[in-house]
């Protein structure tokens, strides 16, 4: 039996494998414990193979998405900002992280760590308070949305200067391994979108692909990527130093607090889906 898991949350969903190769090129990558080959024909059609076996694949948002079982339980999520004119679309590359992807998504949804892990960038002591925000599961899509999130930030993006302001955030979880955040843009009245799409290498390793869809007429790609990598690189040692890499969904080993509403909802949402991949077995 191929693949390291039989969890339908993974096998029956669309999983990112990174950007499709250039026409007439191919490369290999790791997915659910297997090596898969990505190729793009001369006509531009991308494909993904496990050995000789073609896998169901679709190119969306600049990446190739694969459904390992060939029987997707739902279509891939919508990302309307991707097609909006005037937005910069920047693929910030796929960075390997040695932890369960569930912990990466939970970190992405969290604001309380900003003044500690991202000191002088996304937060600063003593502005540590997390004001109450709203979290709900959207009934039609089944996605999690966190709204009315706000946090004081000294320097919120490559475009902002270092004088500090309250920044508004919205978060969205589309799949167990995909999330988006929306934050106040440099362009007044707009929200920049940052998508994080995790390629599951195995239960304890992911490749984190980050895509920016933002309004910024001044920064170069190198500057935008440098900022994203600065932030992600600060999270990396935290993510890779959880005493257990897989996320516990049961038991009392980990205790949330009030500001952890997103993470409490995310863990409950995973439990209700019967999530097993990347999950720590109950003691």
């Amino acid at each position: 039996m191929p693949f390291i898991t039989d969890d339908p949350n993974m096998l029956d969903d669309w999983l990112v494998v990174g950007p499709a190769p250039a026409p007439s090129a191919s490369r290999t990558t790791r997915l659910l414990g297997e090596t898969v080959r990505l190729s793009t024909g001369a006509d531009g059609t991308p494909s993904c193979h496990l050995g000789d076996q073609p896998l169901a694949a679709q190119p969306r948002y600049g990446y190739l998405w694969v459904c390992p079982s060939g029987h997707p339980a739902r279509p891939l999520f919508e990302f309307p900002e991707y097609a909006e004119p005037g937005r910069r679309l920047v693929d910030c590359g796929g960075i390997g992280v040695a932890v369960s992807g569930l912990r990466v998504i939970e970190n992405f949804l969290d604001m309380a760590h900003f003044p500690f892990v991202h000191a002088d960038y996304l937060g600063k002591v003593p502005h540590t308070e997390v004001a109450q925000y709203q979290v709900q599961v959207e009934p039609t899509t089944g996605e999690i949305w966190a709204t009315d999130c706000r946090f004081w930030q000294p320097r919120a993006s490559a475009a902002h200067d270092a004088s500090g302001s309250e920044v508004l955030y919205k978060y969205r979880v589309m799949q167990p391994f995909s999330a988006m955040l929306y934050k106040s843009s440099f362009r007044a009245g707009e929200l920049d979108a940052i998508g994080i799409f995790l390629q599951p290498v195995d239960d304890e390793h992911v490749i984190a692909h980050t895509l920016l869809a933002c309004y910024d007429d001044d920064s170069t790609d190198a500057e935008l990527i440098a900022f994203q990598h600065t932030i992600f690189g600060q999270d990396k040692p935290i993510l890779e130093n959880h005493a257990f890499k897989r996320m516990p969904l049961e038991g009392r080993a980990e205790t949330p607090t009030r500001g952890d509403t997103s993470s409490v909802t995310y863990r409950r949402w995973l439990r209700e889906r019967g999530m097993r991949f990347g999950v720590r077995a109950a003691a």
């Binding site: 892990v117 005493a243 607090t257």
Partner: protein, 226 residues
């Protein structure tokens, strides 16, 4: 030193002088248990499970603030002694919940070393710990070897060191230099050997001992495993 199965072992996890009050946090290990070792500003030594109860991030990435340990992830602070959570920066006005507590282990300081036992029971500190290193001896170094502790003891016996009934130390000369060696079972394939000696720091004897220590390590690691 062979201890019967039902005796709780005291593990020499660090040199006392390596933990500075209100300053550093040192990663410690004992029988595969990860520890965060630190000293509160008031001087009391702490040995905690290396895991914040919030999201399980290792305490060793954090920092000591006075008599508290602060986790690197969300800045939660825990009191020395009890391990009780005292502050959650995301909610400055809220009282920290009573049930959030770091897991603490019993400690003892003797013979210049910090000792930890992994049992929750309150047990007296054996007299032998204080006798582990003769008074006035100097610290040579910590040697780490990539083998189980049993293999370390086997090789030290072969080198003419002998386990002392009254204390946990292995005693004898290494290349003619008088030594007391304390063995720590850190991880299944990692052991620490704390070497103490009558030789003075900077002396020719100490230099000889450093060379002998490296040779001992080579010999220990050369032995076939299993």
């Amino acid at each position: 030193m062979n201890t019967p199965e039902n005796t709780v072992r005291w593990h020499p996890v660090a040199r006392s002088a390596d933990l500075r009050p209100g300053a550093n946090i040192v990663a410690g290990f004992a029988e595969g248990q990860e520890l965060a070792l630190w000293r509160a500003a008031d001087g009391t030594a702490q040995a905690w499970e290396n895991r914040c109860p919030h999201r399980s991030v290792r305490f060793t990435l954090g920092q000591v603030i006075d008599n508290r340990l602060a986790c690197a992830y969300h800045g939660w602070q825990y009191e020395a002694g009890s391990g009780q959570c005292a502050s959650i920066p995301a909610h400055p006005a809220m009282q920290a919940p009573r049930n959030v507590c770091a897991k603490t282990f019993g400690t003892a300081e003797a013979a210049g070393m910090l000792w930890v036992r992994l049992s929750p029971d309150a047990l007296p500190v054996p007299d032998g710990l204080g006798n582990a290193v003769p008074a006035g001896w100097h610290f040579c170094r910590t040697l780490t070897v990539r083998v189980p502790a049993a293999m370390v003891r086997e090789t030290m016996a072969r080198h003419g060191l002998s386990a002392d009934e009254a204390s946990p130390a292995w005693r004898g000369p290494l290349d003619g230099v008088e030594t007391a060696a304390l063995v720590l079972d850190a991880q299944p394939l990692l052991s620490f050997i704390y070497l103490w000696t009558s030789a003075a720091p900077g002396s020719a004897e100490m230099k000889k001992l450093h060379a002998a220590a490296r040779q001992l390590r080579t010999d220990i690691e050369a032995r076939p495993q299993g």
